[in-house]
Amino acid sequence: MARAFAPKGISFVFLYTREAHPGENYPAHRSIEQKLAYAKAFKAEFKIERPILVDDLVGTAHKLYGSLPNMTYLISRGGRVLFRADWTDPPTIEYAIDYVLNSRARRRDGLRLAPFYAEFVGYRWSDQTKFQEGLARAGQQAVDDFARATERRSKQGPRPGRIELSE
């Protein structure tokens, strides 16, 4: 996707944060060298081609943007937030970028367009098998911690800020 949109003037970057699911193989960061090494492992494992920026050890950049594990922001040339999501979902990102590019094209064609505030519910693919594989990569502790957290949450009811829709 990064390659497809590059000619259209979009830079893709990745901000490496804390470990979302620390385990025996990839425990919580305690030094910047460790964080850089895990970022390198991440780049190799997922064959990441876009630039990876590594945040500092206390998550200064991560906290500025909301501290969630898989956020996405689309920022305009000049630094304004055009789209953001509390999860990273490629089709949703593509939709958002296309929307922005199309709006600009319509403007260039002479259509008078005024910006406005909008929100929508995103639908992401939830691949549990792949997710569990990811936890296993981190180690058995990550698998167990997630299972415990899931069980605890199931007793607590809906979580604030999480969207639960069945339709």
Partner: protein
């Protein structure tokens, strides 16, 4: 230099699930200026500002980790 406590608080050792999803809705809303920050470019080990990326282009930034 950051304190050990701050490092350990941010980099939790045990995942318990985030309650930050509701806070996300009010931090950096669309239409506002994106906060700038410095980070290390993995490939070059150089320090860069995010604003250097949005100076000439739109930027899609994704947050995440290996685990």
């Amino acid at each position: 230099m950051s304190g050990q406590r701050e490092i350990q608080e941010y980099n939790y050792s045990v995942f318990v699930g985030s309650d930050d999803f509701i806070d996300f809705r009010t931090i950096v809303p669309v239409g506002t200026s994106a906060p700038d920050f410095r980070a290390t470019v993995l490939e070059t080990n150089e320090t860069v500002r995010l604003s250097e990326y949005w100076k000439n282009k739109d930027v899609l930034i994704e947050f995440g980790s290996l685990t």
